[in-house]
């Protein structure tokens, strides 16, 4: 059976499962948020300093907050059916637009961090497996343990202290030079300079995870019979590692990478705050503080779709890596 067919079959199954999952997530999130005390009108009134009962009432009426909970849910679902995420009372603009502004920032940050984590993690893990039990392995294990146990915000702060304050090589926060008129390649370089530190501090924890995971997976595969077959063919250790060991070891690693996309969204909140990066994480945090549930629901919905998409990608990657997955049983 062709690889393409297998991948398509895997994809179809994933998508069919995604629809009820997303619906369940929306409804569950909606009720969970209803449990929190206060609403957007309370916060807005509180921030304004004073408000009459009538003003509050008017605010609530305007945003539909005075309707019974089930009606609010029905309204929200109705909006979704028209591909609208609703209107934010706090920011005074459609949620879709609001998220649209912040999404690219977070996505690039996450993609960058994940790429760094997998690339460095795989390299270090392969090195550790190749030198298992010897000095390089021991040293790298210590580093992995360190990055694994130190919290991300602390690493973030220390990176700022070192690279921005002391050395002055990289900017300490923001997403681009304000007021700059860079175009083309220069603009990309400028962006990248701002992204290096946040992406690195987000990635380091995952570097540690992937390094250890790769090490374990490769050591396990190395003991398998087919690796002995490969050596018996006369292949060199480098070729055996890359062509026979690594590809088999990648299968458990991709599974973990997919599961980490959700975790990274959570980590992004902290990193975006430390580096004042204008992303979804910070928007979510502000929405919680402002009891802006429409925005929050939108972000949660989007995150869950992101996670599902990431898992679909992992499924496809696995169907491509492992011929035994996606076979018609």
């Amino acid at each position: 059976m062709s690889a393409l067919l297998r991948i398509l079959r895997t994809l179809r199954r994933t998508l069919l499962q995604a629809v009820p999952t997303v619906l369940g997530i929306i409804i569950l999130n909606f009720f969970l948020l209803q449990l929190a005390p206060g609403d957007a009108a309370d916060v807005m009134a509180g921030e304004a300093g004073s408000a009459t009962v009538e003003t509050m009432q008017a605010l609530r009426e305007r945003f539909g907050l005075d309707n019974p909970v089930l009606v609010q849910l029905a309204n929200y679902l109705g909006n979704l059916a028209q591909f609208s995420l609703g209107f934010s009372p706090r920011y005074g603009m459609p949620v879709t637009e609001l998220i649209g502004q912040r999404l690219p920032g977070t996505l690039t940050l996450m993609a960058m961090a994940l790429a760094i984590a997998i690339l460095i993690g795989l390299t270090l893990g392969s090195l550790m497996a190749a030198f298992s039990g010897r000095l390089p392995d021991r040293l790298l294990s210590i580093f992995a343990l360190l990055f694994y146990s130190v919290p991300g915000f602390w690493i973030g702060l220390m990176l700022i202290v070192l690279f921005s304050v002391t050395l002055g090589w990289l900017p300490s926060g923001g997403a681009g030079t304000i007021g700059s008129s860079y175009t083309g390649f220069a603009a990309i370089i400028d962006k990248a300079r701002y992204m290096v530190l946040p992406a690195t501090s987000l990635a380091l924890f995952y570097v540690a995870i992937y390094a250890r995971l790769t090490r374990a997976a490769m050591l396990e595969v190395k003991n398998q019979d087919f690796v002995r077959t490969a050596y018996a063919k006369g292949l060199s250790p480098a070729v055996v590692t890359v062509k026979h060991v690594l590809r088999n070891a990648l299968i458990p690693i991709t599974t973990m990478a997919g599961m980490h996309v959700g975790g990274m969204l959570g980590g992004a909140v902290v990193v975006e705050t430390v580096y004042s990066w204008p992303g979804l994480g910070r928007l979510a945090f502000e929405a919680v503080m402002g009891r802006d549930y429409t925005v929050l629901l939108g972000i949660l919905l989007l995150s869950s779709i992101l996670v599902i998409l990431a898992n679909a990608l992992v499924d496809i990657a696995q169907a491509w890596l492992d011929p035994r997955i996606g076979e018609q049983k």
Binding site: Q224, D225, F226, R228, T229, A230, Y231, A232, K233, G234, L235, S236, K243, H244, R247, N248, L321, D322, P323, R324, K329
Partner: protein, 566 residues
């Protein structure tokens, strides 16, 4: 005679060392061009390590403190890593025991053959692929043009071993090392693979080094035999003399302990010889052969009601979109004190039959009467007392004992479940059972990993017998054991049958073992019972072609010795 003319490989004084242990000591032997040399030994004899040492494929913590491996005039042990890689796969190739795991699961079989061709023969991708298809044809994979893009999991075990052979002979090596090439395969496939190896050896005039524990295979397919025990080479002899009486005592013991179909030995006529290896005062091994005295068995009581009566039993496994009839209308009876052998290849339904009788899987239709009681419809609570009389011995000597429980815990559990509340009584029964299976009483407080394979099988038997069952189902009880251990366990089963009045349902793929232990034999194929006969008739006058093919495969390779004789 110049050495280059006929001598291919010369191993002199080879020692393999792990830390302070030497699992191979001062091994010397040679292989000539086009010759088949067999290295025979039981587990722990060092035969596989010696084979790996020839290719310099030993694990990293192994050393070779002394010895020489001369292959076509070069000492392989002195070659650089880069130069030995030019020998591997091109001059010397190797196939392994486990065809299921010896191929990379994520690469197509074609690419795995192409890889070795491109490495050593510098062929283009297209040429290599064409050669790969040729090679698949050579090893008789049907539809090679299509199968070349298959992945290993799409092939059966026998086909995978063929692919391994294709990889091994791709560069026309001068020496092929086959490490237990057929141990994991069914009897009919086994014969085909050995026949293929022999044919290729002649076609490509390779030397063949056959590593095996199976004396039957050795005597049929090799020219010379090296016998090893615990790292020492005991003797070297022509294969034709393997079963002659004036051999080394250990070789003789192995020969007597191994059962061959053509000898027609039956448990009622004689016991199997057991080998004892004792260290004498100088620390040398002393090999003794002991043949237990056969004792009289009570005749099978045919007039009584049968202990087990199975009628039209069918089992179907269902998955979402497929159903698989694993057992189709099986009918059999088993008299008290009788041993019923069940033979069949993998997938024939013999394990399903045993599980259905144990009520571990539910029957779709049919009936099982055990000791006069219909047990098909019984619920879990009603089955409990029945299970005490109906026990099972499993094949897997590692997997079927819980590694975190002591032997005493393992044996006590069934007693507690079946309501033996008195601790002293439980102790007494455990001691008694230990005596029956000939385990030392001190074994009770140790853990499964502290025992050898044969001892673990004794523990498995003890667990089955502790409840004093009347019927024991033995599912491949000796197929994972060495020949000498197999003989001990089979003798033990015969003794227990007499002493405890047991009946056996004995399942095995090994025809010779079934022939030895059974009173009657059933042959299964494709979920059906296709033949049933008493233990003499079935081997002499098989009714179906399939049984004839099975017998031919088991005794089969004789064709070669006959061909050589004529």
């Amino acid at each position: 005679m110049s050495p280059a003319s006929s001598r291919l490989l010369e191993v002199e004084n080879l020692t393999v060392r792990f830390g302070s242990a030497d699992p191979v000591r001062h091994l010397s032997f040679s292989v000539d061009r086009g010759e088949t040399v067999a290295v025979v030994g039981e587990s722990g004899s060092g035969k596989s390590l010696s084979a790996l040492a020839l290719m310099r494929l030993l694990p990293r913590n192994a050393q070779i403190p002394n010895g020489r491996i001369t292959f076509e005039g070069t000492d392989l042990l002195k070659l650089s890593d880069r130069d030995i890689r030019k020998v591997r796969g091109r001059e010397i190739a190797m196939i392994f025991q486990e065809p299921m795991t010896s191929l990379n699961p994520v690469a197509t079989i074609g690419n795995q053959i192409v890889e070795v061709l491109r490495l050593h023969e510098k062929l283009s991708k297209k040429e290599a692929r064409a050669r790969a298809i040729e090679l698949l044809n050579l090893v008789k994979i049907p539809d090679a043009e299509k199968r070349v893009d298959d992945f290993p999991h799409q092939l059966s075990g026998g086909q995978r071993q063929r692919v391994m052979i294709a990889i091994a002979v791709a560069c026309k090596p001068k020496l092929l090392i086959a490490d237990e090439p057929t141990t994991a395969l069914d009897a009919t496939i086994q014969a085909q693979i050995l026949e293929l190896l022999d044919e290729l050896r002649r076609k490509l005039s390779m030397g063949l080094l056959l590593i095996t524990h199976d004396l039957g295979v050795v005597s049929r397919w090799s020219d010379r035999v090296v016998v090893m025990y615990h790292g020492d080479k005991l003797e070297e002899l022509p294969a034709s003399e393997l079963f002659s009486p004036d051999r080394h005592p250990y070789t003789r013991g192995l020969a007597q302990a191994s059962i061959r179909l053509e000898d027609g030995v039956h448990y009622t006529s004689r016991t199997l010889s057991e080998i004892r290896v004792v260290k004498d005062a100088n620390g040398h091994n002393d090999y003794q052969i002991r043949q237990p005295v056969p004792r009289d068995l009570p005749p099978v009581a045919n007039d009584d009601e049968p202990i087990l009566q199975v009628d039209g039993l069918s089992v179907t496994y269902r998955t979402r979109n497929r159903e698989n009839r694993a057992l189709d209308k099986a009918t059999l009876t088993l008299a008290k004190g009788e041993t019923l052998g069940i033979v069949g290849e993998s997938g024939s339904g013999k394990s399903t039959l045993s599980k259905a009788i144990m009520r571990l899987v539910n029957a779709e239709s049919g009936s099982i009467r055990f000791q006069g009681q219909e047990i098909t419809g019984l619920g879990p609570n009603q089955l409990q007392p029945v299970r005490r009389d109906l026990q099972m011995i499993f094949q897997d000597r590692f997997g079927s004992l819980n590694p975190r429980k002591s032997i005493r815990d393992i044996l006590e559990a069934p007693l507690i479940v079946h309501g033996v509340r008195d601790a002293a009584e439980r102790r007494r029964r455990i001691d008694e059972t230990f005596e029956h299976v000939r385990l030392p009483l001190s074994a009770a407080d140790r853990y499964p990993h502290e025992f050898s394979g044969g001892q673990r099988q004794r523990i498995g038997i003890a667990r089955a017998l502790i409840l004093r069952p009347s019927l024991v189902i033995c599912d491949e009880p000796v197929s994972a054991l060495d020949v000498s251990i197999q003989a001990q366990i089979l003798n033990l089963l015969v003794d227990l049958k007499r002493d405890l009045g047991l009946s056996y349902l004995f399942i095995s793929h090994d025809l010779a073992v079934v022939q030895y232990i059974s009173d009657r034999v059933i042959v299964m194929k494709d979920s059906r019972i296709i033949e049933e006969s008493d233990h003499k008739t079935i081997w002499r006058q098989p009714k179906t072609d399939y049984t004839r093919a099975l017998i031919a495969a088991a005794a089969g390779g004789e064709t070669r010795s006959r061909a050589l004789a004529s």
